[in-house]
C-alpha cells in the first residue's frame, strides 16, 4: 500500500487573465503584421484593410491635437449622458422601474426654468439677470418637487405591488402626459436657455498643443465640474445618510423595507425629486448647447446604451458607462465614420453596448442576477 498525496498546482494565470493574454498577443501579432504589410507595400492606401486598421491610427499620431479634442468632446458628451443615465438609475434602484419619462423630464425641467424666467421678467416685471435666473431656478426645482409628489400620489401609489411591466407602462403614459402638458403650458416653440443669466461661463480658451490647437469651451468645463460635484453629493447622500440607507433597503426589497418602518412613498418622492433635479441640470447643459425644445427628448435615448454598459443599478456604472459611450462614439464617428458615409454615432453607441452585453450581460457594475431552480 502506498500513500499517494494529491497536490493541485495553482495555475500560473487565471482563466480571465489567460484569455486576456491570448487576445492581447493576437492583437499585437495583427498590428505587427499590418505594420510589416504596410511597410513592404503589400497593403496600399486604397485597400480597405489600410483604411480600417491603419489610417485612423496614422491620423491620430499625425494630428494629436484633433485626437485630444475628440476625446475631450467625447468626455463632455459622456458626462452629460452619465447624468441622463443617473436619472434612470436612481429611479430603477428605488422602484425597479425603467423610467421611460426621464427624457421628457429633461425637456420639462428646462422648459420650466426658461418659462418661469420669462414669466418673472416679462409678466412680473423683475429685471432680467442673475437674481431673476436664480429665482427661476428655485421655481423650476419647486416644479420638479411638485411633479415628484404628483407622480408618487397619482401614478405610483395606486400601482404598488403591481408587476414591473405595469409600472413601465405607467411611465410611458407619464411621458405622453408630460409632452402634451408641456406643449400646452409652454408651447412647441424652441426657447433660448438662460445660460449667461445663470452665471454659467461662455466663450472658449484655445490651447496650443503639438503644433495644433485645442478649443476648450468654458461651458463644457463648467458642465464637467458641476456634474462631478453633483455625482459626489448624490453618492454621499445615498451612501452615508439615513435616507440613502433607506433607499438601498427599498431597492433590495419593498416588503422588507416596509416591515422595518421605511416609508415607501417618502422614498419615491425623494428619488423622483432627485431625478428631476438631475434632469434640470441636464436640460440646462444640453439646452445651452442648442436650444430648449422637445427635440431634447431624443437625446435621452442615449441613456439606454449607457445603462447597458454600466448596469441599471449602479451610480458609478452610469458614470463610467456614459464616458465609455461618449468617448467611444466620438472616436468612432471621427475616425471610422467617413468609411461608412458618416452619421454612425447614433447606432455605434448600441454596437458598443452590444459588445459589453456579450461579455458582461449585467453591465460593468450591475448586479449579477443568479436565479436557482
Amino acid at each position: 500500500m502506498t500513500d499517494v498525496t494529491l497536490t493541485t498546482r495553482k495555475p500560473f494565470l487565471g482563466e480571465g487573465q489567460r484569455n486576456g493574454l491570448i487576445a492581447g498577443g493576437a492583437l499585437a501579432l495583427f498590428i505587427a503584421a499590418l505594420v510589416v504589410a504596410t511597410q513592404t507595400g503589400t497593403i496600399t492606401r486604397n485597400d480597405w484593410t489600410y483604411k480600417i486598421f491603419v489610417d485612423p491610427f496614422v491620423s491620430m499620431v499625425d494630428m494629436p491635437d484633433l485626437l485630444v479634442q475628440t476625446v475631450w468632446e467625447g468626455f463632455v458628451a459622456g458626462v452629460l449622458y452619465s447624468l441622463i443615465a443617473l436619472g434612470f438609475v436612481l429611479i430603477f434602484k428605488a422602484s425597479g422601474v425603467f423610467n421611460f419619462a426621464q427624457g421628457i423630464m429633461v425637456v420639462f425641467a428646462a422648459l420650466s426654468l426658461v418659462g418661469f424666467y420669462e414669466f418673472l421678467t416679462l409678466t412680473v416685471g423683475m429685471p432680467p439677470g442673475f437674481i431673476a435666473a436664480i429665482v427661476a431656478l428655485a421655481g423650476a426645482v419647486g416644479i420638479m418637487f411638485v411633479l415628484a409628489v404628483a407622480v408618487e400620489r397619482i401614478v405610483l401609489r395606486p400601482l404598488v405591488n403591481q408587476p414591473d411591466i405595469i409600472m413601465l407602462m405607467a411611465t410611458v403614459g407619464l411621458t405622453y402626459f408630460l409632452i402634451g402638458f408641456g406643449e400646452y403650458i409652454f408651447g412647441g416653440s424652441p426657447k433660448v436657455m438662460i445660460t449667461s443669466q445663470l452665471g454659467l461661463p461662455t466663450g472658449s480658451t484655445m490651447l496650443d498643443f503639438a503644433g495644433g490647437r485645442i478649443n476648450i469651451q468654458h461651458l463644457d468645463v463648467a458642465a464637467a465640474i458641476i456634474a462631478a460635484v453633483m455625482i459626489a453629493v448624490l453618492g454621499f447622500f445615498f451612501q452615508y445618510t439615513r435616507i440613502g440607507r433607506a433607499l438601498r433597503a427599498v431597492a433590495d426589497s419593498h416588503k422588507a423595507a416596509l416591515s422595518v418602518g421605511i416609508s415607501l412613498n417618502q422614498i419615491w418622492v425623494i428619488v423622483w425629486f432627485t431625478a428631476g433635479i438631475v434632469a434640470l441640470f441636464t436640460g440646462i447643459m444640453w439646452g445651452a448647447r442648442s436650444d430648449v425644445s422637445f427635440a431634447l427628448e431624443i437625446i435621452a435615448l442615449k441613456a439606454l446604451p449607457v445603462l447597458i454598459v454600466g448596469g441599471f443599478t449602479s451610480i458609478p456604472g452610469a458614470i463610467v458607462g456614459g464616458l465609455i459611450i461618449g468617448i467611444g462614439e466620438k472616436i468612432g464617428e471621427f475616425y471610422w465614420g467617413p468609411l461608412l458615409g458618416g452619421g454612425i454615432e447614433s447606432w455605434l453607441a448600441y454596437i458598443i453596448a452590444l459588445m459589453f452585453l456579450m461579455f458582461r450581460p449585467q453591465g460593468l457594475f450591475g448586479d449579477k442576477i443568479i436565479e436557482r431552480i
Partner: protein
C-alpha cells in the same frame, strides 16, 4: 292626446329650426386641410410656417369673405414631421375633399406622390419634396415652385464663386454639406457632386441622424479636420440652431456657413446669440411687416385675437414664407374658379389653377405684397419655374438681404431633372403617361 300634440309640436319646431339654419349651413366653402407640426422635434420650424399660412387664410375670410366670396375652411392636420402621420393626413384631406395637399415634409411628399393622380388631389410642396416633380409632363399633380433643392445647390455654388472671385477659384476648395440624414437632406447631393466634378472643388458630406440633431460636435470636428472652406446646411428643426452654435463654438467663420432656405428661420440663428452674427441662408422673399398684406393680417387677424402667433413674430422669415405659400395657393384657387366658372372648386380644378399660375410684379402689388418676392410663373411642362433666390445674413437680431438675385443654372439643372423624372417613371412600373389637358394662361 296631449303626448301626440307635444310630439307634433316638437317635430314642427325641429323642421322650422332646420329651415332657419339651413341657409347658413349651405354657405359655400372650399376645404383646405394643411399639414402642420406644432409639436415634436421639428416644431421650431413648423410653428412659424403654420402660423403664416393659417393667418393668411383667416385674413382672406375676415377681409374678403374668402376667395371670390367663397370661404376657405382651413384645417390643420398635425404630423409631428412624421411620414406615417403625414400619410394619415393625406387620408384625412381626401375624406374632407381638400383642394390641395401640402405635405411640409419631403418624406411625406415622396410617400404621397403616387396617390395624387388616383385620388385627384394636387400636391403643393413649395421649394421642397422631390426635385424631379418640377417636370410637369411626368408629374402633372405635383407642384414645387419657386425653386428646387437642385436649384438651391446651384445658387449656393454661384454665391460661393462670387465671394471667391469667380468659378475658376473654386478649384482646390473644400465645400462641406451638413445634411439631415433623411430624404430632404440628401436631395441636393447629385447636383453638388456634378458641380464639384465640373469646377474642381471637393465635396464632403456630413450626415446628421435625426437622433443626433443636437449632438453635432464630432461633425464639426470633422469639418475642422477636412479643412473645409465653406459649409452648406441642409437642415430643419433643432438641427439648424445647433449647427449655428457649433460653428460659433469651433470658431468656423459664420459668414462661410450658408443654410438652405429652410435653415433660415429667426429661431435658427437667435439662440446662438452673438455667435450667430454673419450666418447666411438662402431665401426668395422679404422679411418684415412693411407690406400691405402683412398689415392686413395684423388688422384683421392679430388685432382680433385670432392668430396663434406672438405679435413680435409676425413678419419673421418663416412666418412670411407661410404667407407666401398661402398667396400662391389662394391664387391657384382663383385661377381654378376662373378656368371652370365654378365658385366652389375641387382638387382637379385647383391642379389646373396651379398650371396657369402667373404672379407678375404687378400682381404681387395687387395682392398687397409689392416687391415681396420675384414674379413666379408655372407652365404645364414646368411645375417649378427655377426662379431666382438671394442670400440673407443674420446681423445678431434680424435677417438682412446680403446679395442680389442669383438665378440657378437652369440650362444645367433642367436636363438633370428630366432625366431623374424619366428614371422615376421607369422604376415605378405602370407610372401613367400624362393624360391631363393643358390650359392656356389667359
Amino acid at each position: 292626446m296631449k303626448t301626440t300634440r307635444l310630439a307634433l309640436g316638437l317635430g314642427l319646431g325641429l323642421v322650422a329650426g332646420f329651415a332657419a339654419v339651413s341657409p347658413v349651413g349651405a354657405q359655400e366653402s372650399i376645404n383646405f386641410v394643411h399639414n402642420t407640426y406644432r409639436t415634436g422635434a421639428f416644431s421650431g420650424s413648423g410653428i412659424p410656417v403654420a402660423d403664416g399660412v393659417r393667418d393668411y387664410f383667416t385674413m382672406l375670410n375676415n377681409r374678403d369673405g374668402g376667395i371670390s366670396g367663397v370661404r376657405i375652411n382651413f384645417e390643420e392636420c398635425e404630423t409631428q414631421y412624421d411620414t406615417r402621420r403625414s400619410v394619415e393626413c393625406w387620408e384625412q384631406a381626401k375624406a374632407k375633399n381638400s383642394v390641395v395637399y401640402v405635405p411640409w415634409s419631403t418624406g411625406a411628399a415622396l410617400a404621397t406622390i403616387p396617390r395624387a393622380h388616383i385620388d385627384k388631389m394636387p400636391i403643393f410642396s413649395m421649394a421642397y419634396g422631390l426635385s424631379a416633380a418640377a417636370v410637369g409632363g411626368t408629374f402633372p399633380w405635383v407642384f414645387n415652385p419657386p425653386l428646387t433643392y437642385w436649384d438651391g445647390a446651384s445658387v449656393w455654388i454661384q454665391y460661393i464663386a462670387q465671394r471667391e472671385g469667380g468659378l475658376a477659384n473654386l478649384r482646390g476648395k473644400t465645400v462641406g454639406l451638413i445634411l439631415l440624414d433623411a430624404p430632404f437632406g440628401r436631395e441636393p447631393i447629385p447636383v453638388l457632386e456634378a458641380l464639384a466634378r465640373e469646377h474642381g472643388f471637393t465635396l464632403k458630406t456630413y450626415p446628421i441622424p435625426p437622433a443626433e440633431m443636437q449632438n453635432q460636435s464630432s461633425t464639426w470636428l470633422a469639418i475642422r479636420r477636412d479643412r473645409t472652406d465653406w459649409v452648406l446646411v441642409q437642415g430643419w428643426g433643432a438641427m439648424n440652431p445647433t449647427a449655428v452654435r457649433e460653428a460659433g463654438r469651433t470658431g468656423f467663420p459664420r459668414d462661410k456657413v450658408i443654410g438652405i432656405w429652410w435653415a433660415g428661420g429667426d429661431d435658427d440663428a437667435r439662440p446662438a446669440g452673438p455667435d450667430a452674427r454673419g450666418y447666411l441662408a438662402l431665401s426668395w422673399h422679404q422679411v418684415g411687416t412693411n407690406f400691405p398684406v402683412i398689415q392686413d393680417i395684423l388688422r384683421h387677424v392679430v388685432d382680433r385675437g385670432q392668430s396663434n402667433s406672438a405679435r413680435e413674430k409676425i413678419g419673421e422669415n418663416l412666418y412670411n414664407r407661410g404667407v407666401y405659400q398661402g398667396m400662391l395657393i389662394a391664387e391657384a384657387i382663383r385661377n381654378a374658379q376662373r378656368l371652370t366658372g365654378k365658385r366652389v372648386v375641387t382638387g382637379e380644378d385647383v391642379r389646373r389653377g396651379f398650371e396657369v399660375l402667373n404672379i407678375s410684379a404687378a400682381r404681387w402689388t395687387e395682392l398687397g405684397a409689392p416687391d415681396f418676392a420675384a414674379p413666379v410663373a408655372l407652365t404645364c411642362a414646368d411645375h417649378n419655374g427655377h426662379h431666382a433666390a438671394f442670400v440673407i445674413q443674420w446681423d445678431g437680431t434680424k435677417w438682412n438681404r446680403a446679395s442680389d438675385w442669383i438665378r440657378p443654372d437652369r440650362a444645367r439643372i433642367r436636363p438633370m431633372l428630366e432625366e431623374a423624372a424619366r428614371a422615376y417613371a421607369t422604376s415605378n412600373a405602370g407610372w401613367p403617361a400624362r393624360s391631363e389637358t393643358c390650359d392656356q394662361p389667359s
